[in-house]
């Protein structure tokens, strides 16, 4: 079989499956990024707060999840979640094994890790917001929630953009590890294709190219976004 037939969209071609897999990688990475945004902003809030327990909890979270191999976190959530769900199933009178859905557990595991990196990005961005603006808003009598949504958050999002670009790339590459739970994303599909056709080299090269395309497109996107944000910053100054 030649390369065009193998990776084409015909009956024996793997093109369709690989494109679907790319979409799955994109979906799982986006979900992980969103889950990470929730964890990351909560942790950043804890680290920035004046309460000592919140600070310690935040520090513990970021140190832990940046030290442990990603694979171990995925195992914890996938196997741990599965045995928890099986136990719950049994206590309700059910029988047999109950597995965690791979998409959910994978997105959650990678999201938790992504959150530890996002927390640092948000914390750094918060420090970049000028104190004077926050004081000015307070002096005008703005309530805390409004101050957060009107003054802090828009600026934090701007300052966080370059860091978020890095986190996105990292999360995209971490999403390949979710293949160990059997989710049919790029790596898993390449693996299946490779072992069923014995064309390992070609399949992993194609898989790698798909990742490269995704990282370079997202790079362009983040560069453009930064340029746009930078424009408004310049206008504000001069």
């Amino acid at each position: 079989m030649d390369v065009f037939e193998l990776f084409g969209f015909g009956a024996k071609g793997w093109g369709g499956a690989l494109l679907e897999a790319a979409l799955m990688t994109l979906l799982v990475t986006l979900s992980a990024l969103l889950i990470g945004a929730v964890f990351g902003s909560l942790v950043a809030w804890g680290k920035l707060s004046k309460s000592v327990p919140a600070k310690v909890a935040g520090d513990l979270y970021t140190t832990l999840f940046r030290c442990i191999p990603e694979l171990l976190v995925i195992y914890l959530i996938y196997f741990g979640g599965s045995s928890l769900m099986t136990a719950m199933h049994h206590s309700l009178g059910g029988e047999g094994f109950f597995g965690m859905p791979p998409f959910l557990s994978g997105a959650f595991a990678v999201g938790v890790i992504s959150g530890s990196y996002q927390a640092e990005v948000y914390r750094g961005a918060f420090h970049a917001v000028s104190r004077g603006e926050i004081e000015a808003a307070r002096a005008m009598g703005m309530p805390r929630l409004k101050l957060f949504f009107r003054i802090i958050m828009p600026q934090v999002m701007r300052f966080a953009l370059p860091g978020l670009g890095n986190v996105w790339q990292m999360t995209l590459k971490d999403s390949a590890l979710i293949s160990v739970t059997g989710l049919a994303e790029i790596l898993r599909t390449s693996q299946v294709g490779a072992s069923s056709t014995h064309q390992y080299f070609q399949f992993f090269i194609i898989g790698g190219v798909l990742y490269l395309v995704m990282t370079s497109i997202s790079n362009r996107f983040f560069n453009a976004a930064e340029a746009r944000v930078g424009k408004s910053f310049r206008r504000a100054i001069g």
């Binding site: 030290c67 442990i68 191999p69 694979l71 914890l76 196997f79 741990g80 390449s190 080299f201 490269l212």
Partner: protein, 240 residues
């Protein structure tokens, strides 16, 4: 309920895999560091082909997940007859060496960018001062550029080293029994996920803590001129 006998037994089994993890880690850091130096040199050379090669290398190895690189080398490269008859076959047949090669190739890409940042941070005045003293070529590199660039790059490089320590866990997916692989095997046998996870986490935490402390110490040793000078009491000048 914590079962201490089980925890101790797990720790013992995981520690038995520690040499494999450390071997993967140190071999790939050393090999990758050397390659990164070569790639950084190419990047700053005036020869266009070398510059382009270095750029492309960094793009490819930073743009793809490590796991797919590992599978490509372990499963992909060995499917060719010419490789199986070549002199590299004893290495490429062994998953351990495949993991070392892949980890080294990957970290070389990331480290090249870090070293490049370090070289770019060398002040122009220092280069000019070196040139005016008659240093050039390799001497200028060894005496002026390398020491300053190394110190500048250390904080970023320590992050990369911690990432590599975590990356050694992927070797378990090509049947190298390092710590994460052994942990996964124990989990699959006993289904006591939380306990095994705690033990493995403890080991990685200690390892990464030691690495970060060691590099911080090295950084401290390399930057005495950036710290305020401690003047002995008998030499202190009264200002008031």
């Amino acid at each position: 309920m914590m079962d201490f006998a089980f925890l101790m037994d797990t720790i013992k089994q995981l520690l038995a895999a520690l040499p494999t993890t450390l071997g993967l880690f140190s071999a790939s850091i050393a090999l990758g560091g050397l390659m990164a130096m070569g790639l950084t040199w190419m990047r700053f050379s005036r020869i266009r082909v070398l510059v382009q090669f270095s750029k492309a290398y960094v793009f490819v190895f930073r743009g793809t997940p490590l796991l797919i690189q590992l599978f490509l080398i372990y499963y992909g490269v060995s499917q060719f007859k010419i490789v199986q008859q070549g002199f590299m076959w004893p290495l490429l047949r062994d998953p351990y060496y495949c993991a070392v090669i892949t980890l080294a190739l990957c970290t070389a890409g990331y480290s090249t960018e870090i070293f490049r940042g370090g070289v770019l941070a060398v002040p122009v005045q220092q280069l000019e001062a070196g040139r005016s003293l008659g240093l050039s070529g390799f001497m200028l590199f060894r005496r002026v550029i390398a020491p300053i660039a190394l110190r500048q790059a250390l904080p970023a490089y320590s992050t990369e080293i911690v990432l590599m320590m975590k990356a050694t866990s992927l070797a378990s997916l090509v049947t190298v029994w390092e710590i994460t692989g052994v942990a996964q095997r124990i989990i699959a046998h006993t289904y006591r996920t939380m306990e095994v996870f705690l033990c493995a986490t403890l080991i990685y935490l200690v390892l990464n803590f030691l690495i970060v402390r060691m590099i911080a110490l090295l950084e401290h040793r390399l930057s005495p001129h950036l710290r305020p000078v401690k003047v002995p009491a008998n030499l202190r000048i009264r200002t008031q």
